[in-house]
Symmetry: D2
């Protein structure tokens, strides 16, 4: 779908710049299905795993744990956008292969990030859900390319993106052909420095009013400290989020990235139990 064809209807709707992703266009909630998982339905979907794929053992240990505690989707980055050129940049294709092996052995779906056209082609081939990270939320050429693949997209909100800009980034994906979009609030940049970012919990009801797309919460990147991940995760569910993506690590102290904000397996299991209780209190399941 090209810009020319769709440009016209926008003229009469300056105040609501998005069209395909807006609730006006599709009044019911969209349900994004992948494998036996459905984002946007009655169930709260939990995704978890390490920040980065670091080794075969780390990935298999994580995937086995996810299978055991009933987490249907595992995360793990093979291509890592890092602030410093001198930081670990990810294992690339080798990492993707490990994730694919974990899927085969433990039956977890895989969500992992693409950072350019080349990695997108590979991620779209190996993974179940393609993640577009916060720093690429307005990498419009990448968004156009994501619009042309037939895998669901997890679209993170940019570090300082307005809700309108975030929905407009989703509109780029949609306008180029892919409406299987799950939005992910991961904290925004504010003046407060205690937390890594400020989780904009209000984004959940605001986005649900404006758009039909499912919304999940990433409490790990918002908090920056594992001790605060649990309250933010529970707050996300209470606010109506359709799911969570939470960083865990078999041994957070040795993680190559995001160790301080990663839960160990014991804390994650305790959190899962509480997520279930809050979800059920509000009429949902996990």
């Amino acid at each position: 779908m090209g810009a020319t064809e769709t440009a016209e209807p926008m003229v009469s709707s300056a105040r609501k710049p998005y069209r395909l992703v807006s609730r006006d266009f599709h009044p019911d909630n969209s349900v994004v299905r992948v494998g036996n998982v459905a984002f946007g339905g009655d169930k709260v979907i939990v995704m978890s795993g390490p920040c980065a794929v670091e080794s075969r053992e780390q990935v298999m240990t994580s995937a086995e744990f996810m299978q055991r505690v009933g987490v249907p989707v595992m995360r793990g980055g093979a291509y890592k956008p890092r602030t410093s050129p001198y930081s670990f940049q990810g294992m690339g294709v080798e990492g993707l292969e490990m994730l694919a092996e974990a899927r085969e052995r433990f039956g977890v779906l895989i969500v992992t990030e693409a950072v350019d056209h080349e990695s997108l082609a590979r991620v779209a081939q190996w993974a179940d859900i393609v993640q577009i990270g916060a720093r690429n939320m307005q990498n419009f050429e990448l968004l156009k390319a994501v619009g042309q693949i037939n895998k669901p997209v997890l679209l993170k909100r940019g570090l300082a993106a307005t809700i309108d800009e975030w929905l407009m980034a989703a509109e780029y994906v949609a306008a180029h052909g892919n409406l299987n979009i799950v939005l992910c609030e991961r904290g925004i940049r504010t003046y407060e420095t205690k937390t890594r970012n400020t989780l904009d919990i209000s984004a959940v009801p605001v986005v649900k009013q404006l758009s039909h797309l499912p919304v999940v919460i990433d409490p790990s990147h918002a908090a920056g400290q594992w001790q605060w991940v649990e309250p933010l995760a529970l707050a996300g569910i209470a606010a109506g989020a359709d799911g969570l993506i939470i960083e865990t690590h078999p041994n957070p102290a040795e993680a190559l990235s995001d160790g301080p904000q990663s839960l160990n397996f014991r804390h994650f299991e305790e959190l899962m139990e509480k997520i279930g209780r809050v979800a059920r209190a509000l009429g949902r399941e996990v």
Copy 2:
């Protein structure tokens, strides 16, 4: 307790500038008691009522409703800090008298705002809890005076106050003699304009780690729109807040201030029911 006496120990603790309100000073949670209500204990305390006292009928109707639905504390402003000098500035003493009458007739405790030394003297005489609003969080002369009264204080976070500055404002009150302080997160100023403010839900666990004081959430001023008050209130409870302060109005469409963010009585009752369910799911009562 004067500044001179307490100044010395600070020298050795530059990183933690607060002392009396810090968890190091008092490792257990503080419980702030007023009447038969205890902030910081097992129960989640709900406070509600109109933004401003507008008329005797409005106040009595509100108080009767609060009594009926089991809300132990009623809010209502008699002194209103308004952005414009041309906006309704509150009913003053007349409003305080109405609130006092409502307490007598319906058994609700009263929380209301003081804006300077003069109104503080009156509020401290008539009300059960003295509120210091966001715009006065660094009105240090007022904080010193609040330290010298023997009523509990509801200390709202400033519009763009860091958590450290907020705790330091509490330290002003404490250092001048009053440790009965309840902190209130009401949304901070960010670049996002969909909501009136951005509820910093992370402030709940962060403050609870740094301080022993109870923390409540004001979802109404954060949201700015009544439709988003419910998800934010539930998120607050899920994140571990000790209570909520929620704007309601017998007829929001006719409110003199904050109408758009005020719940009507029917929506508030539905919310109360859900608050109870989330609280119980996490082992607390309302």
Copy 3:
């Protein structure tokens, strides 16, 4: 002038909430005169002096220097709003007396801050210009009182105040009877932490478009580091500010407050010379 009388005209002008301070009300620039100084005219007015009055010697040394280099207005705080209750809170009346003596001996005008009704009464008696600090910009009861004195007011922008809120704070002063207002941009709170605040240099032309009031720049509180005061001061003049207020100290290393952002006398003299050059390049004098 009461709220009732002035409220009516506002109804038809919801988009421009200020009236008396708006350029619509008074199309020409206002000139605020005090002694032989005129803010808002052809001359750029430089104010300087220490953050806080610390001793008689410090004040007299500063005033003598100001006289020598031709700075017509000296600053110096006798009442200090400090984030911590354990920090130096100012010398109070004793400090005001020192400032008054300096005025007599060295012919400098005095600007100093008031923080509540009591200090306002004293400052209005002893000083030439009353400063309302950033933390009290929405202390509306103080603004109302400032509206009733007959001394010029230096109204600093709040830490996170919008330009509209700042002009509305000025409107409080004006609506209560005092139109001798000089606005002061001193940096706003943003996510950037290298500087103490972010100088909003754009505020100069924006305010000048919206309002007839003079605007000055405080580069010291914006920068937080003396090395950056010079470029910000020059930028302020280039952007069209009517003046500057700059912290200096006879010995910055020993200052009781704001030492790191205070210029020593030698650097200040160098800056004065450059201020003159930039001002003259744009057709103004110092």
Copy 4:
């Protein structure tokens, strides 16, 4: 230069994460030369032209004007990163060809934006300076590719990037082989909505202290309104910027993008005259 080789020295310098772009590494100012232009020397370099290339006539008219008023570098976007997928996305290769023709005919150097690997290859071939826009400042794959071309780079600061993140983005370019980097401050995102962004004028002296790279100011994107471009441009020069990039248009009212913030030719000429006066007042030339 690969990540592995350079990673080691970083270990001992956690506080200063950048290396090649830091002033510690290169104490003198870097001078970035292109044609007969030198960024970072005594001369202030002015770049100007339309936001987007719209037509052959618009480009030639602009280039002729730049030649006439002595502007050595013309801007003009052929690839436009737009918030909406339905907005004009630029003329692509056809636009680049027009820019190249303008260079031939009118002797102006060309700066234009690249948005992905494909456009980078073309821009690097046709243009004199490659611009990386604010939204791509942390598109690390693009930065790595820019590090491998031998054209100077104009690296805009991200919408909400800290100064450290911005310098780290420059470090990506440098670490991959290209040290011909000119930094561009174009306003950051804050809570203030009067201006499109908040020009962080302090960034000029802060960056000059931390890094040896030249810094220029984009007053047009900061202001969002042409009336405020002049004061911000002059402030930039007064603060020590090495240059300016300013949007102009033969007919701003008909511009396909950024019309409201574009100067017409008459206003730009007036501004050039004032830029010269401020620059000379501070010992520089234009």
